[in-house]
Point group: C2
Chain length 117, copies 2
Amino acid sequence: MVTSSRRLDRTFAALADPTRRAILVHLARGDATVGDLARPFRVSRPAISKHLRVLEGARLVRRTREGRMSRCALDAAAMREAAEWIERYRAFWSGRLDALKRYVEQSPPPGGKERHP
Amino acid sequence: MVTSSRRLDRTFAALADPTRRAILVHLARGDATVGDLARPFRVSRPAISKHLRVLEGARLVRRTREGRMSRCALDAAAMREAAEWIERYRAFWSGRLDALKRYVEQSPPPGGKERHP
DNA sequence: GCTACTGGTAACCATGTAGTTACCAATTAA
DNA sequence: TTAATTGGTAACTACATGGTTACCAGTAGC
C-alpha cells in the first residue's frame, strides 16, 4: 500500500473525536477563525487549539496567522487518503471483489512481520 | 446526520491503529482464528484479543466461538458508515459542492451547542 | 503610549489505551 | 483420565489524550 501507516494513524485518530469532526463540518462551510470554531462548543479555547493542532498534524486543516487572528481552512489530502483506504475495504462487501483481489495481489502476504498497512 | 456520533467515534478510533488495520487486511482475505491473526505480529495473544474486542465494539469484526477456537470475520456495516461520512467531505474538495450543500442544508446550524456529527 | 482582544503555551489532572505477564476455562486428543 | 492447545481475563505499567486554569505574546484601537 502506498499510504504511510503513521499518516493513516493520525488521520483516523483525528476523525475519531466528535469535536474535531464538528470542526471539520464547520470548516466545510467556509474558512473560520479559532474563535469562530470555539464559539459553538462548550469547551475552552485552549482545548480547541489542541484539537486544531491534531487536525493540522493529520493535515486535515491548515492554519495561517493573519494579524492577531488565525484563519483555518480545510486541507483535504489526508482525508482523501483515508477515504481511499476505506474504499478498498468497501470493495470487499460491495461484491466488487476484483478490486480487492487486485489490492491483495499487490500487497505482501500476511506472514510478513510488522508489515502494518 | 443519521449516523450516531458514538458509533463513528468507535469506528475511526478502531481504524486508527495499524495492528487493527492489519487485522482487517488479513480478514479481507477470509475468516481466521485468533491464533491465525496473532501469528504475523510480534504482539502477544492477549493484545490481539483486546484489539479484537475494540474491532467488535466498532462492529467491524464478528467473533463466533467454534469449539475451542474463535472464528473472526469482517462485519462491514460500520466501515460503510465511516466511508459515507468521509465521502460527504470528499464532495467538498472534489467540486461536487451540490452534494455538500444538500448535506449542510439538512444539518443543524453550527450555532447549536453540543451537536456533534 | 495604554487597553482590549485573539490566540497560543505551560502545568496539571483524570481517563483511556496498548502492551506486558500470569493465570483460568474449556475443548480436543493421547 | 490426563495432557496439550486455544482463548480469554486480571492486574499491572507506561504513555497519550482531552480537558481545565493561569499566564504570555502580538495586534488593533483608543
